[in-house]
Symmetry: C2
């Protein structure tokens, strides 16, 4: 997706040939026009799937998932919680996820009320790196008996290997920008 790649080239900050920061449009300030183009592109790539629900994970996946849902007939979005409140219904599916950007392990949770064997879900997330968050989301969906219709990722760092987590399961995965390397402050796309 050229629009997205140009935005990354123009605004991303790179450090340690490994970390890419896109706070300007994806992880802190949010570019709603761009998100609409992203939503349309996900719809184009998963047009043949009869998706009933979009699943994502807090925090940065939520905005993308909600805008995208508008292109799938306003189907519900459910986000897995990393920081469940005291009021949360205890009847949940849960999985462990490790966050490298926070150097912390989380237990992510989804209420059983909002995911069932009747659902065909599209998993949406902002980043794919090692695949820990994605593996957690796949686990939650599998526990519910729902079918995974596909996985849509905004930015994939291919050199961290997360893609194999879902490809091995035969699930269609679509990343709108695939980064093969970060070097000397530059981004090298696939």
């Amino acid at each position: 997706m050229e629009l997205l790649k140009n935005k990354i080239r123009d605004t991303a900050r790179i450090s340690e040939d490994r970390i890419i920061q896109v706070d300007n449009f994806l992880n802190h300030q949010l570019d709603i026009s761009l998100f609409n183009e992203i939503g349309k592109e996900f719809k184009r790539r998963f047009a043949d799937k009869e998706i009933t629900k979009i699943i994502t994970i807090e925090t940065s996946g939520i905005a993308i998932a909600c805008i995208t849902a508008q292109y799938f007939d306003n189907i519900p979005v459910v986000f897995a919680k990393k920081h469940a409140g005291l009021n949360m219904n205890p009847d949940v599916y849960e999985a462990k996820v490790f966050s490298y950007t926070k150097n912390q392990e989380y237990t992510i949770k989804v209420s059983k009320a909002f995911l069932s064997a009747n659902d065909k879900v599209l998993i949406i997330d902002d980043f794919l790196a090692s695949g820990s968050a994605l593996l957690g989301l796949v686990s939650l969906v599998n526990q519910s008996g729902a079918e995974i219709g596909g996985v849509g990722i905004v930015i994939e760092k291919t050199f961290q290997g997360g893609r194999k987590v879902v490809e091995e399961k035969g699930v269609q995965i679509e990343s709108l920008a695939m980064i093969d390397a970060l070097k000397d402050g530059q981004v090298f796309f696939k």
Copy 2:
């Protein structure tokens, strides 16, 4: 806003005459059609304000803020971070916020890069109760020198007094559902 009040009447779970849980459409599963109606209603109520940016706070404010931004010419959304990653730019405005649903104090942060004296902001949040989160957001905006064009809240619990935090400052505040009491599992709207 009748559509919202009906949704609350039909799906909210009440406990201890104080806690209202709307995980079904606002805080865990997200009703995108309803969010679009909410966005339109915020635009109607702040139509005369020349808003340049929407500010919210993670997590549940983000979805509402993004859908609402579409009715304000796709202006950028910036969310204050409760859980900043290790990569976050250290040049931030910050404020302390106490969460009663998590019984925890947070330091919320917004990068100085994304909020400036040139901005006229609309603060959006899902809930207004004691006003601690709102006071934190107002503090961040004041630190930046930006103007507050208004405050838009989805559900206000009027009996917890948060509204006075901004009314005292002469800021227009609009809540789409105002709850005066929760009693015996029932919701009493203003």
